[in-house]
Subunit: 259 residues, 4 copies
């Protein structure tokens, strides 16, 4: 069989460098290995790209899938950084980026009865390899309970509360464990969510939320105050969105620091 | 130019009748004309299909778009039924169905201060023309507030509450106005949602919800009790889903009657 | 501490039986055990409900999570049926239903070069326990390639093709393996999708699709013809939706048989 | 009635300035007035925020809805800028931002038969008022057809093609009409999508796409080349994502210039 033409490797004359070219919406099974030696299986929604120089026509998309497959069962923060470097080299690019959004489970314990079940979070690892440098960001997305301080102050009984969604991205010299970010956010809300609550637990979380009202603005500030005490962070972005129980629309607040 | 081949009109030998063949996810601008002479513009997500007999290969997809375009600015419940009959005839089918899911706005008044703004709902009209008969269903989807009776009973202060989503479908001999179904559902919840609330309004809705606790099971039952008193209904399906403020998952309840 | 009130166990006087009451959108980690002794980890989006009699106020939502947690690492078709029976008994209900929608990975081999990588599918297991009887359904959702026969017939060069999504539900006396349904659907399309294709593979799939054109109507019929030869099925529903490459809207076809 | 407490106006001691606080996911009916005097109705998904100084506790969420309602039937690019300035003043903030994502319809004509119908696009207007300055961005999101140059070069017949989604954001001193950006993008693809195509049209678009193959990298570059000739732009970001007809995952490319 004669060699097939390699269209992607043609020379390009439009003089437009491309920041990112690659694959997205690639769902892949992963095994995550933690620093403490434990591991667990999860599923990622992956985006992987490289830069394409002004005179190259395109990149070779199949190599992204090959490179992820080669390491999918030995994944860690370090491995994601290594994968970005591998892609940069393999595809002869100036820069490569890997973004894995994963479902993350934490075994949570009911606050009074002690019953245990898994609660799901979203955790993203984003790595960029550019020239000799690398950068890494961790994002966590989770639900929390928020109880409105204004509603509590003005109503003679009750106070509206709701599920709120928090998205926190941190940049750090050394990757930060997702679990510590999750804990920090849950401590900043009116109350954490739980997968399994019996009546004594439900009494506890209802009263705890009533005793800890936060506006969406308070929530992002409480998180910011805790993050300031976190050494090694070089930047963060905090977004909270309340699925208001009195409106069809949401309330939102965003704090950014060097990001 | 010689005539192009008409592949869709070929004879089929697989002996498989097709219940529905047509277009989906077609977004289209509509003008809705109400019985009282008023009208308003909205946008539909349309699905339109016909049945395909066991010996016909396929249908002609462009005719669905033509038929909707011809009546898009004069839409009403009657028009949707007429459109289904038109498609059945035009495409020489035994049956035709039209489903329009529309965003629907109601100008809502804040309960104490009287401020006004629009709140959005989803309303679907579904029409089927089969042989000489037609059938029609109206669906409304909306958010309401629900406050947990158990939480209120066991907690010394406060009670968890949240946004709940209700989906109600009714079949009736004569189309039922979406607004009357919306009102009936909002009356069945702990409190309605509002687009615009000042502090006196927020005090009112907080206390009203606290005074009207409903489980997700209570909500579907309250709606069922009201629907029973609605003459002319031949069937209904009620689904409520609470975006729990104490869990990451939802609570759900469904009641069906002849549907 | 005095006993907390049990609001859910109160007597109800509205005389409305509830078909389904329970939890939805519950994401949970599972380990699936296949009949051949192999196993793999995945994540489910779970809905679990019971019926609530006309005189009972509500169900106890935490028990669904407990029951799933107890068996989450030993899941199989039989286990889902057992879980439905357990819920029916534990919650003293007439009927219980369990629906698990899971991401399902298959290691696929490129048709010419033999490269391997995982491709994702959606597989649902639905079990109902009602009185002494049980029912089980398997649903698979997957993407395939479809090439338009009309476009091929009328154009002098090329033919439009696109990604199509197929949703197949089957009811059977004995659960049917998801992989066999997936294979059957991929064989019915213009070509299967692959996670990893090199140029010789891309040449193969391009030509194979061109040589095997299917309308969305052909696709559902090809699947129906193959399902008829599948012993033990008591019913099926086939839906195909083409993400048309010439339209912003989709083309859809549905065939049903006893479902 | 005694005055209700105004919790939002309390003094804050956490020293965390908030970049954005406001409402999101607010669906609202709009009437758009074009420069040429024509107008049309549509629906927006609105996000509106203000900055909150380090010593203020929160903002007053109801005022966003009031301000949008006051101008919802007289909307234009200038009006969005005015709305951002109004919010900044009304809420005594340093900065205010308004983002409206709207469904946008264009009456498209079939290339050969001349049949007409509406096709839907997404258009966003984003305005920021900060101090005395304002900034404005227009985003368009649309589907196009892309045919793979590699597939065409290596296959003896046919070539895989698919729907691709393009997201283009431009910053300009003077707002750029959405329709001109849409046209520019459609001219950069293998072929535009159409809502209504008869067989002679389908022949035309099939052959046109075959004669104009573009990688996802070519697509963003073709758009970049055309944007360079567009005077008055101060920056742009182009993202294209192909819903590959040979993969379950997508191919993506991004070019940015001062944005």
């Amino acid at each position: 069989m004669p060699a097939l033409p390699d269209t992607q490797s043609e020379r390009d004359t439009r003089h437009v460098p491309i920041r990112h070219a690659g694959v997205s919406a690639l769902r892949y099974p992963l095994v995550i290995h933690r620093a403490d030696g434990t591991s667990f299986a999860t599923i990622a929604d992956a985006t992987m790209t490289v830069s394409v120089g002004a005179t190259e026509r395109g990149t070779h998309m199949s190599r992204f899938v090959e490179a992820l497959h080669a390491v999918h069962d030995q994944m860690s923060e370090d491995q994601v950084l290594a994968l970005a470097r591998t892609l940069r080299t393999k595809l002869k690019a100036d820069a490569a980026s890997v973004d894995l959004q994963m479902t993350w489970f934490v075994l949570k314990t009911a606050p009074i009865t002690g019953g245990q079940a898994f609660m799901d979070y979203k955790v993203s690892w984003s790595a960029i390899a550019e020239g000799r440098t690398t950068a890494f960001r961790t994002t966590v997305i989770l639900g929390v309970a928020t109880l409105c301080p204004c509603s509590r102050a003005i109503a003679e009984r009750g106070a509206h509360n709701q599920r709120g969604m928090v998205t926190l991205t941190v940049a750090a010299k050394k990757p930060v464990a997702a679990e510590s970010l999750i804990q920090l956010i849950e401590d900043s809300a009116s109350c954490a969510l739980y997968p399994l609550l019996k009546r004594p637990d439900e009494k506890f979380v209802t009263e705890k939320a009533y005793d800890s009202p936060v506006f969406v603005e308070d929530l992002v500030r409480n998180i910011a105050v805790r993050l300031r005490q976190h050494r090694g962070l070089t930047g963060f972005r905090i977004e909270a969105e309340n699925l208001e129980s009195i409106h069809q629309h949401n309330a939102v607040a965003i704090v950014t620091h060097n990001l």
